[in-house]
């Protein structure tokens, strides 16, 4: 399966911080194979939060629940 990247934007640092927390928790599951970044909140404010991997359904589900975070198609 091809690797894909999804990108989320938020208007402040808090949703990004919550998203990072959610992804760090999810990452502990052995089957998860994704990476995310940039790992700098200031940079996230500009470029959004990118998540890359082959199976992103779980990450998407987690991020869709983070208030203030919007997926950019």
């Amino acid at each position: 399966m091809a690797e894909q990247t999804i990108r989320y934007f938020a208007g402040s640092r808090i949703p990004y911080a919550r998203a990072v927390l959610a992804l760090v928790k999810l990452a502990r599951e052995p089957r998860q194979k994704f990476s995310f970044g940039p790992m700098a909140l200031d940079e996230m404010l500009d470029s959004g939060l990118a998540v890359s991997g082959e199976h992103l359904a779980d990450a998407e589900r987690e991020l869709d629940q983070v208030e203030g975070l919007t997926r950019w198609e």
Binding site: R13, L26, A27, Q32, D46, S52
Partner: protein, 315 residues
């Protein structure tokens, strides 16, 4: 993409668009909360069918749409950009987000049904507020894309006008690589010089390893087109026109449409693009370190929230 000074990145005008969209939906949320609390045992369907509720929601969506679409059209005009399909697409995005009354009804009905009668007012209010926040953010993103696309369209129009006068004109992607926030992809495009009608997409390349073992794909440009910046919302890249003389010498043309070329005084040197964290790296952490990281993140989020609340109180 890059950030820092208020060029295309989040501007005061962009924030105002978001605030305007949010304000009208906040008002509607308050009204729905009052109406629901007055009749907590009524059905959700009856609530959204009420003429006053229908009118309030329709008016809120309409006002929000006017604010966002007006700002997009204004920033387009500000840059003197010609009307193109991109402007129509952006206005269409605004309309889709802010004209779907049925979607908003669905959110309200779902919130109404999800709790008991005593909490219905708060749940309905929260649902409309959430819709308002999402719409506000989307409007800000659309405004940012409009500002950047307008700059590019204005620059391209100037370039084509030059070509009609017999001048050979090329376009060059310029990124603020002196800013640490400038992303990998914009750095990659910096300096790429191509004919006016060509796309920058082939120069963007494929997935890259950004300081981790995992591959990261480049951002998808708006509607898949990349005639010039921006590459993504809040991108600060700009287009430079290059006039080529008959003997092959290049001359740089001042950016048009308000494009910014000047480096930021005192800016941090490049090459500090943000790193990515792989899930496998998180799993490799010993349990005690992982738990400490979680606790630290949760505490940081809590502290940030508390600080913002205190600031709101000061304001």
């Amino acid at each position: 993409m890059c950030s820092g000074a208020p060029t295309v990145a989040e501007t005061e005008a962009g924030r105002r668009v978001g605030a305007a969209v949010r304000a009208v939906l906040d008002e509607a949320a308050r009204y729905l909360s009052l109406v629901t609390e007055a009749d907590p045992h009524g059905s959700a369907e009856a609530l959204v069918r009420r003429p006053d509720v229908q009118a309030i929601l329709q008016e809120a969506l309409s006002e929000a749409q006017q604010a966002a679409a007006g700002a997009v059209a204004d920033v387009w005009d500000e840059h003197g950009a010609p009307e193109t399909g991109v402007l129509s697409e952006l206005l269409g995005d605004v309309e889709r987000q802010l004209s779907n009354l049925a979607h908003l009804h669905g959110l309200i009905i779902h919130a109404h049904a999800s709790v008991g009668p005593e909490l219905r007012g708060a749940a309905v209010r929260a649902a409309v507020l959430k819709f308002g926040r999402t719409s506000a953010l989307r409007s800000r993103l659309t405004y940012s894309v409009a500002a950047g696309a307008a700059r590019t369209e204005a620059a391209l129009a100037a370039g084509y006008a030059g070509q009609e006068r017999g001048i050979t004109v090329l376009k060059r992607w310029k990124a603020h690589i002196e800013r640490p926030q400038c992303c990998h992809w914009c750095r990659k495009l910096n300096g790429v010089t191509i004919p006016l009608g060509h796309s920058f997409l082939p120069h963007l390349g494929g997935p890259a390893r950004l300081r981790s073992q995992a591959l990261t794909h480049p951002p998808k440009p708006y509607r898949g087109q990349l005639q010039g910046p921006l590459l993504h919302p809040f991108c600060e890249c700009y287009l430079q026109l290059i006039h080529v003389s008959r003997d092959g010498k290049e001359g740089t043309v001042e950016p048009v449409g308000g494009q910014e070329a000047a480096p930021i005084p005192g800016a941090v040197p490049p090459s500090s693009a943000g790193s990515f964290l792989a899930a496998s790296a998180v799993r490799a952490l010993p349990e005690h370190e992982y738990q400490a990281l979680l606790a630290w993140l949760a505490a940081a989020i809590h502290e940030l929230g508390q600080m913002l609340q205190r600031l709101t109180g000061v304001g």
